[in-house]
Amino acid sequence: MVDSRLTSSEESGRTPLKFPRAEFWAGVRDIFPLVVGAAPFGVIFGTLATSNGLSVGATLAMSAFVFAGSAQFIAVGLVAAGTGWLLVVLTTFVVNLRHLLYSVSLLPHIKPLSHFWKVMLAFWLTDESFAVAIRRYEASDRSPHKHWYYLGAALFMYINWQLWTLLGVTIGQTIPNAADWGLDFAMSVTFIGMVVPYVKTKPMGIAVLVAGLTAILAYPLPHKLGLLFAAIAGILAGMLSERTQQASTTH
């Protein structure tokens, strides 16, 4: 849906998303598959957290104020193992380091916004909202309201996470094994659909291959560090390939 809209607007040079409201709802719509993909994890988190020693209030508060799926799961694991709070906080910091990469990438687009907007968009920055928002920012039309698109996507992701956490906390035990639904696969196919159009040049192809391979090899590393290493390895491989390509054309 988004594809046909964006390409048609690019081709005809029109800007159909002139209004903040239209951008907002386009963001809500486009993050929908990722919202579906996150649902089972929300249920599993709610169920797991309360059965591993976190109070209902703490579980809901974690989803509301921390709002970081991977870090929340790792925190529950640490709590269950009797880890002290300070170590949980430090681990959270490391697990979330990849957001630096996202915020640097969004930096040129976010720069003109007011401070209030920067605070909001930072709080709601996730893997999913980054994936959807950067795609909108990189589209060639010059809408001045793309931050409304980001907000719509991020807000839907946030509300969704709260709802499924609540369901997990309350009726999670009666819900049949959410891990087996297969809905989480929606994230994989969405991200695949986003990555493939990028792979138009040799350096980009190499970057993606190196990132994928490193992610597999480095997966056993703790605190999601494998993801960070894989991203950096991919970027370096792409840059290196670009450089050798330039060197060979200039000679």
């Binding site: 988004v2 594809d3 046909s4 598959p33 209030g57 703490a58 508060a61 974690m62 921390v66 870090a71 925190a75 009797g82 709070w85 949980v88 906080v89 430090l90 959270t92 910091f93 979330n96 957001h99 990469l101 996202y102 915020s103 640097v104 969004l106 930096l107 040129p108 976010i110 720069k111 930072a122 709080f123 994936a131 990189e138 297969g182 989480d184 696969f185 929606a186 994989s188 196919v189 969405t190 991200f191 695949i192 659909g193 986003m194 990555v195 493939v196 792979v199 980009m204 993606v208 990132a211 994928g212 992610a215 597999i216 494998g226 993801l227 894989a230 991203a231 991919g234 970027i235 840059m239």
Partner: protein
């Protein structure tokens, strides 16, 4: 375990990482090399998230027709490559995955 301390600390740590660049964005001008490098971030990060989801099952690489995620991912790659249509990629990838999952479930 002090839940209030833990969750406050987690919230502050998470927000700090998400906010630090945005907050300093007025004072940051990215060098051309960095901007060039950043163009790789979206495809590279998304691939790094997806590859283990698709290929790993309880820590081991599963390259087999019994891995429905791998089959669904291959279908998604083909659809994305041929059509460049995100919605179609998602739908056909999911359909392939669910069909393959139920078929292999009856086989094993």
């Amino acid at each position: 375990m002090n839940e209030v301390l833990m969750i406050s600390g987690m919230a502050i740590a998470t927000f700090a990482i998400r906010y630090v660049m945005f907050g300093a964005s007025d004072r940051i001008t990215l060098a051309p090399t960095i901007l060039k490098a950043l163009r790789y971030v979206p495809p590279v990060v998304l691939t790094a998230i997806v590859a283990p989801e698709v290929l790993l099952s309880s820590g081991t690489v599963q390259v087999s027709y019994l891995n429905a995620r791998l089959i669904g991912a291959i279908a998604a790659i083909l659809v994305a490559w041929k059509t460049k249509n995100l919605l179609l990629t998602i739908v056909l990838g999911m359909v392939t995955f669910f069909i393959w999952k139920s078929v292999t479930a009856t086989l094993t």
